[in-house]
């Protein structure tokens, strides 16, 4: 099961496919202070990534997967990149 959902925390495990997107989005909608662990996540469907971007849960642990860690995590945490420019047009 790629999603292990608890009251305030979720573990994303293995490959999160498009089938899990609705469930993930639903959980993010209802959870008050969601925390998501990507540690064991190998791939994230674009829809899941988009949901994480929208609801901005706290990422509790970084993924082991190299691509996710190097390229995708920075987009989620906003530690670099243009994430802070959210909602605005590029100059």
């Amino acid at each position: 099961m790629p999603l292990e959902l608890h009251e305030e925390t979720a573990n994303l495990v293995g490959v999160v496919t498009v089938d899990e997107v609705e469930q993930l989005a639903g959980w993010l909608r209802t959870a008050k202070r969601p925390k998501v662990s990507l540690r064991r996540c190998n791939h994230l469907h674009t829809g899941a990534l988009q949901a994480l971007l929208l609801f901005k849960p706290k990422i509790s642990s970084a993924p082991n997967d190299a691509f996710l860690a190097a390229q995708v995590l920075p987009l989620l945490t906003g530690s670099n990149g243009p994430a802070h420019k959210q909602g605005s047009d590029p100059p």
Binding site: E22, R29, T46, G47, Q50, G87
Partner: protein, 791 residues
Amino acid sequence: MNPLLAQFLAEANDLLAQVDEGLLQLERVPGDPELVNEVFRAAHTFKGSSGLFDFPELTRLTHAAEDLLDAVRGGRLALDSQMTDDLLAAFDLIRGWLAHVTAHERLPASAGGDAAGLITRLRSPLGGGDTAPAAATAGVPAPVISAAPDWLAWFDAEWLTEIAAWLGTTSSTMRFVHYTPDTDCFFRAEDPLHLVRQVPALERLGLVQPPAWPDPEDYDEYTCLISFVVATRAALGELDYLFRYVPDQIEIVELDAGAITRHLSGEPPLTAEEPVTVAITPMIDTELAADARAVLRAAHSALTMEGVVNEGPRLRSVRHAVTAAARALGVPVDLAESGPDELLATVARLAGEAAPAPAMAAPMSDMSDVAVPPPPPMVVPADAPGRADDPGGQVGTRVLKVDQEKVDRLMELVGELNVAKNGLTFLADAAEEEFGSRVLSRRIKDQYAGMHRIAEELQAAVMDVRMLPLSVAFGRFPRLVRDLSRRLGKTIDLVTEGEDTMADKDVIEALGDPLVHLVRNSLDHGIETAEERLAAGKHGAAKLTLAAVADGDAVIVEVADDGRGVDPERVKRKAYEKGLISEEELETLTDTEAVDLVFRPGFSTADQVSDLSGRGVGMDAVRASVEKLGGTVTMRSKLGQGTSTRLRLPLSMAVTQVMVVSVAGQRFGIPVDLVVETVRVPAGEMSRVLHQEVVMMRGEVVPVVDLARALDMPWTLAEGADRPILVVSVNNQRVGLLVEQFHREVDVILKPMEGLLAYADEFSGTALLGDGLVLLVLNMKEVLGLAARVA
């Protein structure tokens, strides 16, 4: 040999002939779009099939030829004779290669060098721009530096500064991709992030967020709102390949340090041109575009076929296919309600816009370690039904290609069946005479009659299979005449008539060499230069006619020109100088007989030997080979008006009708064609002129040859008995043959004399009779020569 290669070689032959013929016609009717298309299609098919095998030179050369033809087809170039020469030379070279391939299954070692010069020549009319594919095959694609697009801002500036510095230090470039997935792409099982993940040598991923996120309550998790920007060191070809299913959703630019720096400092891009087009152009030449072009071609042929595609589902499917192809080529069109004419115009426009594919697909190195997703069905094949039920496809009678040898074998078997069948009559005789059963004899004869009928029909059917139109023999002449006339500087119109006259394939094959001789002779000796012609009050362009007409069980082929004709006086003088005729003959020969002298061995009127003809081996060789086929050659000529040479050949050589006669107890066959009549002459009516026995028939003196003496077979006729004489006509002269007895006529399959007997010129071959006897068939011309020597 690999069956695929064998098939390719068989088809290649047809294609080459098609290209040759098409090019020659094109030279005459330049700019005929249908013809250009035809040649182009043949060349294209050729290139396509050659790609299946490891013949890179072949593919490159055909590709160059195809590009040139494509330019002609697109109206960007007018075909001139220099180009035609180059194209013909290219296909000649290919023909030579294929002969080598047939024998050794690989191209000759010199292929690369031979091709290089031709490729350059073929490409030169296209201008420098089109040599790019050649450079690409060398593996050094010229980098295209684009202007920095706005979306570069989605990368963070710090990183961009770093990378610009690095690129500046190393004078290198990097590829930047803007990937905007469709909002409903999730429903098509696409995962943009997964695609991005596969980008090789991914340097940096950036995210383009929507201008405004929807309210969490209204958020639809199945709408894709984000897009990506990617910086990578992967080659353009790799990116094209990776994003081949979403070409309309991506934008690729290649940037160097300067472009990035200008973007960072907010300066406008240096190049004014639209970056998108620059980036997208190489994208078009993917497999997708190749398929799109195929669809366009199919659509074009479907549309040009009169009355097939008018309205209804067919038009819809064609319209659909064209729209999809246009989308794949990056030129979307709206054809919702257009009729066939508009569609055709669109197809033509799209075909013109589609750039030719590079000779070889860009190498996909570095891709081996990347997991390739299970390829979803491609856009274009999805429209394939429009192609599969394409009414433009072959719907004629089904044609079976059979090896000649198999047909020959069939013919042989029919011959043996005939012989076996003929054995039944002897069996019937034996049943009556040896076993005394008339009833059995009659029943055997009944059976024989039935078998005879079937065997006859079988023979006719096999003969029919062997029949070929004369166009096969005429096919090579347009090219020959064109080449020779260019070399000789003469203007010649070749007219062929009656190409659909049919004759046995052996006759057609054997006709080739004599015809070439005759045509060369006409071109070299018969036809004058344009100035001479104009001075003589003739049209500047000479006319050379090749005509064929069926005449009973023979076919007549005529080679006629309107050149200077044969001068009988000159021919006689030359023949006398060469010692071919005596002084009396020089005085007495009529003009017709004088013209016939050109067929004498060793005769030549040409004062100088050219490389075309004039070595004095021409016309007598023609006569010899035609007579070997059982035919005749005659020449008529009018000084100053032209010459016509007429070949009369049997329709079929497979079965020969012979008259059987016996001499000194031995049976011989004589071709029925030569037989004029059979007579029994009372001994008293024979007379002698000098040493020659003669007989008076209807006021004509016919010399009589004792066949037994000529063949050196001891035999004497009973004193006072009637003389059985077979009158034959050889070279228009009547000769009587004294024989022992006449027998019936039979159809035989003539086998040439081979091995130890090959020297025996007096026999043209052997045949097996129904009773198992071997019949020797006489070559009358030689026999008469023999008789003259014996006397």
